[in-house]
Amino acid sequence: MPEISDQKLISLYLAGDEKSLEILFNRYLKMIYSFIYRYVGDQEAAEDVAQEVFVKVWKNLKKFNPRKNRFANFKLRRQKNFKTWLFKIAKNASIDFLRKKKIIPFSSFDNEDGNALTDTLADPAPLPDALLERQDLANLLTRALAKISFKYRAVLLLRYNNHFTFREIAESLGEPLNTIKSRHRRALIILKKILGKSSF
């Protein structure tokens, strides 16, 4: 059976079908939770923020449905993709949470030697096979991601964990496409460098 589109589920929910909202939320729950968890780094906080994200989505569903509501907010009318809209809300909610908690976005790597490195915009060389075969790779990667600043981490997670296209990432993060492409390249360089440092 073909999967019902997000837009269709939203329309069904707005027409009174409560179950559609559950299906829609369930579709993205794990993705959003993981994304937020990687941002805030704490399970309890991730739960709180994820709840808030879905409540915000629910509150704005009517506005998201552009065909039904002519008076919808202009920004929402421009937003065509539910997935990217959802991730945008998740990103903003995570940043809000971190700001409220006064966790200053900090990347020791960026501040110490990141500038010289990120000036180089060539694609990094392929990752060595030895690294990909390491037993503790999951742990290594988790620690490496925690060291990368939020903006780079978000691009990497959306690209390689959620399999977003660059256009979808740009829409989710509210940045121009070219910015995302160069940020992605920088993020790869930074991650590779951190992994290289941590490996030894």
Partner: protein, 146 residues
């Protein structure tokens, strides 16, 4: 997509989601919906209270004027001054008394009074809930969770 990084991220462990998380979110949405409905009702009843409070003095004035114009009280005082005559022809007296009653003004006055008391009752009962929820959210300022 860089294949090597895709392979690398395949090793990234997914954080375990709490049990019953979807149900929790749906419950939260339902709570928010009820809260929203309550807030709308409070706005409606606040407007009702303001309107009925503003309308109460003129309605009372109209009622007083209507009673004095209809000479209802003159008839009514006969009950004390000429009680025996009234008892003898109580049906005619009652009919005259009813005839003198300013129904329209009374209806207006009582509907305003009912609106005023109803709004007060609703607000007294529910405003407390709204304030408690808001206070709870302010003190638990992560995101205001239930």
């Amino acid at each position: 997509m860089r294949q090597d990084f895709e392979k690398l991220f395949a090793h990234l462990p997914s954080p375990a989601m709490p049990d019953g998380f979807l149900e929790k979110i749906i419950r939260r949405v339902q709570n928010e919906r009820q809260f929203l409905i309550l807030k709308r009702k409070i706005i409606f009843f606040s407007i009702g209270l303001a309107g009925s409070t503003a309308a109460f003095p003129p309605a009372l004035q109209i009622l007083k004027q209507a009673f004095s114009d209809s000479a209802f009280f003159h008839f009514f005082t006969l009950l004390f001054s000429d009680f025996e005559i009234i008892v003898a022809s109580w049906q005619s007296f009652l009919f005259s008394l009813l005839e003198r009653l300013p129904i329209a003004s009374l209806a207006l006055f009582f509907s305003i009074l009912l609106a005023l008391l109803g709004s007060l009752k609703f607000l007294a009962k529910n405003l407390k809930i709204i304030l408690q929820v808001k206070q709870y959210r302010a003190t638990n300022q992560i995101y205001g969770h239930q």
